[in-house]
Symmetry: C2
Subunit: 346 residues, 2 copies
C-alpha cells in the first residue's frame, strides 16, 4: 500500500523553509541547501523524501528532473497562512516623517499619490491605489465657482478636510449669486451625508412639499446630475513601475511589455480592485488567481481603506508571485490604516 501522505508539522516547516529560501533567491531550492541552511538535523536524502511528498500534495513543483523545487501557488497559499499566525507586531514600518506626512495633504489626489509612492518605495514592488468614488464621499462643504458662462467649478471639502474639485459644463448659465445660494442650501440642509444621499433626500423633500424653493431646487438637482455624470471612471494611481526591472522573473522583454500594457489599460485592474472592495479586509491574489492573463506571474496584496465606518477604496501592492509576503502584507495593512485614519479625522 502507498505511504500515507499528510502535512504534518515537520513537513510544513520544510515547506516554509523552501518557500522562504526561494523568495530570497528566486532559484529552485535543493534538498542539500535546506539541510545545510536550516537546523532540521536531517540529511538531504530525508529532506528529499519530504519534498517529494510535498510535491505529490501539490505544494511544490519541479521545473525539470534535476532541478530543485519551487512553490506552487497552493504552496504559497499555505506559506502565507502560516505567516498570518505570527504577524510581525510592533515593527517600525514607516519613519516618523513619512507617517506625519499623511496628515499634511489638502487634496485627496495628492494624498493618494503619496500613499502610492509609499507603497512602492517601502516594498520595492508596484504600489496601486484605487481612489474613492466621489458620489460616496461625505462632504463638509461644497462651493461653486463660476469659471465662464455655463462652466462651473465644483469644490468638495470632505468631512476629513480634503479637497477635490471638478469642472462641469451646464446647459444654463447661473450667476455667481445663484450658485452661492445653491451651495448654501446644500451646505445647510445636508451636512455630513454623501452626494448620493443628498440627491435622494432632495427628491424626497420635494415629494413631501417640505420645501418651497422649487425653482432653485430644481436647478440644484440638475447640477447634482451633472456632477454625478461628470465623474470620470474611478481613478487608479500606480507607482514604482521601475521596481519590476530588478525582479529576475521579469528579465524577459515580452513579459515586461505585457505587464506594462496591463497597467496602461487600467480597466482590468479596476475590476479586480473593485471586487476587492466587496470582500473587504486584506486580500491576497496569488499568481493566476487574478484574472489577468498577462499577470499570471504576479501576486496582488490589497486592503480596503475606510473613512469613518465606510469602505472608500482599495490600495495594495503588485509584485512577482515570489514576492516577500512577510514584509508586504503588514506594510499594506499599515498603510491602509494610515490612509483610513487620515480620511476619518474630523
Amino acid at each position: 500500500m502507498a505511504r500515507k501522505i499528510k502535512l504534518d508539522k515537520r513537513s510544513r516547516q520544510i515547506l516554509q523553509a523552501v518557500v522562504a529560501y526561494h523568495i530570497n533567491t528566486a532559484e529552485p531550492v535543493g534538498s542539500r541547501t535546506i539541510s545545510r541552511k536550516y537546523n532540521f538535523n536531517l540529511s538531504p536524502a530525508t529532506i528529499r523524501n519530504i519534498m517529494a511528498d510535498l510535491e505529490e500534495m501539490g505544494y511544490l513543483q519541479h521545473p525539470h528532473t534535476s532541478a530543485g523545487r519551487l512553490p506552487t501557488e497552493l504552496g504559497y497559499r499555505i506559506y502565507i497562512e502560516c505567516l498570518n499566525a505570527a504577524p510581525a507586531e510592533g515593527c517600525q514600518l514607516l519613519s516618523k516623517e513619512e507617517r506625519k506626512k499623511f496628515a499634511e495633504f489638502d487634496e485627496i489626489d495628492k494624498l493618494l499619490r503619496y500613499t502610492c509612492k509609499i507603497l512602492s518605495s517601502t516594498t520595492n514592488y508596484i504600489g496601486i491605489v484605487l481612489a474613492p468614488k466621489m458620489t460616496r464621499m461625505i462632504f463638509k462643504h461644497i462651493s461653486f465657482v463660476q469659471i465662464r458662462s455655463n462652466t462651473v467649478m465644483v469644490i468638495f471639502v470632505s468631512d476629513s478636510g480634503l479637497v477635490q474639485q471638478n469642472i462641469i459644463r451646464l446647459q444654463k448659465e447661473y450667476s455667481q449669486e445663484k450658485l452661492d445660494k445653491m451651495a448654501n442650501l446644500l451646505n445647510k440642509k445636508f451636512k455630513n451625508i454623501s452626494l448620493l444621499e443628498v440627491r435622494r433626500n432632495l427628491l424626497e423633500m420635494i415629494r413631501q412639499d417640505q420645501i418651497t424653493y422649487d425653482e432653485l431646487l430644481f436647478r440644484a438637482l440638475k447640477l447634482e446630475d451633472e456632477i454625478l455624470e461628470s465623474q470620470e471612471d474611478a481613478k487608479i494611481f500606480i507607482d514604482g513601475h521601475l521596481n519590476i526591472f530588478s525582479e529576475p522573473e521579469f528579465n524577459d522583454l515580452n513579459k515586461m511589455k505585457a505587464i506594462f500594457e496591463t497597467f496602461e489599460e487600467k480597466n482590468q485592474l479596476l475590476n479586480i480592485l473593485d471586487s476587492c472592495i466587496k470582500d473587504g479586509g486584506i486580500q491576497i491574489l496569488i499568481g493566476s488567481e487574478n484574472q489577468i492573463a498577462e499577470m499570471r506571474d504576479c501576486s496582488l496584496v490589497t486592503s480596503v481603506y475606510v473613512a469613518g465606518n465606510f469602505i472608500r477604496g482599495t490600495l495594495g501592492v503588485i509584485g512577482p508571485t515570489r514576492m516577500n509576503y512577510s514584509a508586504v502584507i503588514p506594510q499594506v495593512e499599515y498603510t491602509a490604516s494610515l490612509v483610513s485614519q487620515t480620511l476619518s479625522n474630523v
Copy 2:
C-alpha cells in the same frame, strides 16, 4: 595625391538613401541594397566607393568591417537639413475629431495631458510636454475660495479660458469676504497681465501712494508671495513609455531600465526642455547632443508653444536616434501650433 572628397549632389542622395533605409529597417545598410532598391543606376562597387567617402567625411559609420553602413549623428543632421528643404505640406496630421478636442478642455492640465497622448500616439514614440510656469500666465480672472481656516484655494482662469487651481496655506485666517475683496481688487486693477507683473505693479503703486487700502493690499501681496512660492517645480507630462518596447535598439533590459529611470527623475529632462525655451522654435537634439548619458541613443524633437506672443512651454517627442524624423518633425510642429492656438484663443 589623395582623391578630393566633397559632398556633391550624388553623394548626398546616396546619404539620404542610406539614412532613410536604415530608419526603416534598423539594420546596417549594404551597398548592394542601395543599388537594388534605389534607381541610381550605379553598381554596388561604385556605391561602395561613395559610401567609403561618406564614411571618411564622418556621415556614415561601420559597426565592423563586413557590415553595412549606418549614419553617424552628423549623418542624421545632414539628412534632417535636407528634409527641411522639402517639408510634407498639406498632409493630414490629425483627424478632425482629434483636432477639435483641443478646444474642448477646461483645465490646462487636461489639455496638456491630451496633447502628450496625441504626440505619442501619432508618432509611436514618447510624447513629452513641459507645462507653462504659472507665474508667467496671463489671467482673465482670479478667485479665492476658503477651504478651511488658513487654507485657501486659488483659481486662475487664464485669458484663454483654461483653469488652473492651487491650494495654499496662509499664516493668517481670512474670511471669505476679505478673500472676495482681494480677488475683486486684483481682477479689476490687473486684467490681462501676468502674476509677476501684478506683483511688480502692486509694489509700484504702493510706493507712489496711488492707493490707500494699505492693509488689504499688504495682505494681497502676502497672498501673492504664497502663490509664487507654492508653485511646485514645473510639471512635465510624459506619455507612451510603452512605445519604446517596439524599438529594436531598446531590446536590452539595461538600456530600457536606464531610460525609464531618466523619466522617473524628471529634473534632467526639465533642464533640457527649459533650455529649448530659450532657443525657441523647433529644436532637434540627435543622440548624444542631449546631455543625459542614458539617453545617448535617443533623439529629441521639440517645439515651443505660445500663448499670444509669448512662449509658454515646450513639447516634443523622444525616440531612438533612428527615429522617423520626416514624420515626427511636422507632427511636433503641428501639435505645437494647435496648443498655441488653443492657449491664444480669447
